[in-house]
């Protein structure tokens, strides 16, 4: 009962957030200069022509009417039309061609980072202070400290020249899938490994582990049944976010390897100032983030019965 109440409350909160964000984004986009709606023809046009175009786009109406129209369209699933990127093409059509690429790459990278990252964390915790722990820690520090753009560019440059893998993505060449997917998982690997190591080091010193050992449980059984299982609970919170984030794709990887996905599209849309496309993408990305957090909180509450649902930590 408590669970349902919590879920509903959290759902309400997320819905309100989505509406606030949609409204804020829409209104912010109205602050932009109108040149963005004309492709390159702005200077050549007469003022009346400009006005006609703006009127036909509904941009001369007062803001609350625009907002109403925007929501009315959104409820019909209409995200508007692209202006510069592919003029007059519905945005939903552009996106539906892009999403599969981003999701495929994203899911591959996620699987890789989970498998490698967790394994790395477990090795580190068991070899604490020894050779592999130090090597992997250096990797984690490097990935966390150096901006992703820098190490991704260098990976693309030097790994392709050493391994002879293709430098750009090509749908027809399976080998061109490897490097983007692998380099997309670098950050995830570091994150999961760091988390797993810290968690396991903390947990292995606790009394219940000592008890398990004292009653004669094998190390492997302790790992699998106690430590790993508990370690997964907080991870459940971030899983939906990571899965949903695959839809928005990786901005760096997709633009570096010219993969026709969502992240690369955002960079293109910004550089050519296609306002409606930027707006649609921002709306989608932020909604995905909000939904991910909602699902994560609910999943976590489901997994861990110890979490007290109504009481907020520390607040009196």
């Amino acid at each position: 009962m408590n669970m349902i109440r919590y879920t509903l409350r959290r759902l309400w909160q997320s819905t309100v957030t989505v509406f606030i964000v949609l409204t804020a984004v829409f209104l912010l986009m109205r602050l932009l200069p109108v040149e963005g709606y004309f492709k390159d023809a702005y200077d050549k046009m007469q003022p009346e022509q400009r006005e006609n175009i703006l009127r036909s786009l509904g941009l001369l109406d007062p803001w609350y009417i625009q907002l109403k129209n925007f929501y009315a369209k959104l409820f019909r699933g209409d995200l508007g039309q692209s202006i510069v990127y592919r003029p007059k093409v519905p945005i939903s059509e552009i996106l539906s061609a892009k999403i599969p690429y981003s999701v495929k790459f994203g899911l591959t990278a996620m699987a890789l980072s989970l498998a490698l990252g967790l394994a790395m964390g477990v090795i580190q915790a068991r070899e604490k202070g020894k050779f592999w722990d130090k090597i992997f820690t250096a990797y984690i520090v490097f990935i966390n400290a150096v901006p992703a753009a820098v190490y991704l560019i260098f990976t693309q440059l030097y790994v392709t020249s050493v391994t002879k893998l293709p430098i750009l993505f090509d749908r027809t060449k399976p080998s061109s899938w490897i490097l983007p997917a692998v380099s997309m998982s670098f950050g995830g690997i570091a994150g999961y490994a760091m988390w797993m190591r810290r968690y396991m080091v903390d947990e292995l010193n606790k009394d219940y582990i000592k008890l398990a050992r004292a009653k004669g449980m094998s190390s492997t059984a302790i790992m699998v049944k106690h430590v790993m299982r508990n370690a997964f609970v907080p991870m459940a919170q971030y899983l939906p976010t990571s899965v949903l984030a695959t839809i928005s794709g990786s901005i760096y990887i997709e633009s570096l390897y010219s993969i026709p996905g969502m992240g690369g599209l955002l960079v293109d849309a910004i550089s050519i100032q296609d306002n409606t496309l930027v707006q649609a993408l921002v709306l989608i990305f932020s909604s995905l983030g909000i939904i991910g957090l909602f699902l994560g909180d609910v999943l976590m509450a489901l997994f861990d019965p110890r979490i007290k649902l109504e009481k907020r930590g520390g607040a009196r």
Binding site: N144, V146, P147, I270, A315, R316
Partner: protein, 322 residues
Amino acid sequence: MTAKEEKTISAIEEQELFTFAEFDEEASERTGYSNYSYWGSTIRVFLKNKSAVTCLIIMISLLAFTFIQPYLPNQKNPITVHLDPNTGRQLMNHPPSKEYWFGTNSIGQDLWARIWSGTRTSLLIAIIVGVWEVAFGIAFGALWGYVRQLDALITEIYNVIHNIPTTIIMMLLAYIMRPSFKTMILVMCATGWLGMARFVRNQIIIIRDREYNLASRCLGTPTSRIIMKNLLPYLVSVIVMRIALSIPGTIGWEVFLTYIGLGLPIDTPSLGNLVNEGRRLIMSPSLRYQLIFPSAVLSLITVSFYIMGNAFSDAADPRNHW
């Protein structure tokens, strides 16, 4: 106890088992006094971490060099376009040489001077953002934690903002404003303080009602003194760490925003701009130095600050003191 053991013990004379100790006045005082000092221990633990100390030394020398570099003799202006003395045309993509230590870029500007000028710009942004994060974060967090009537309202606002991906907030703000130094700082300042405010709020809620604060209040200690003496010491270590870690963070965001085309205007050298300029030339191997030099300086700075920040946060944790 076995009979054998009993025998052995009774064989030892009572004199040997129990003797009176001399009363030592000094020793009795030693137990009641602790020479523990928070900052002393923090610094001691930090100095024991060799890689952090190395980073600290690298960082201090690098920072000092960055800021005195323009005043050294024979330094070039970062935005002057150099001309080839033989042809009188722009000295484009001149490889590293005695005259131009890091070479010149695609329009003939000295890369060495540009890198240090860029480092100054990026560090300046990072420091402003870090200080803002801490100052505003603490002020907001203190309000949030101390004023009970505001707690529910601010928590709701926090939940809304916290739910939106940081990337999106920054991108959107940078997109609707004109690219400039001010825009950059404004965009970076927009989100970072949230985490700090939340941390301070939680600390204050935990510490606020502890007995020693209650006792202070009953004894009539003014609130300002309670905050200074009882609350702030808990936060100082975190504050220093946040500033240290916000430097690699802010530089990273700057590179990101520049990469997607929303960075500083191109005539202002910054680490993000330099890396991005270098990236455009990667297809010709002989020009890769224009990517490698800025990336190397940038990585040195971010990694050093990251290691130092983390080492400091470990050192500042009293559980790691002895």
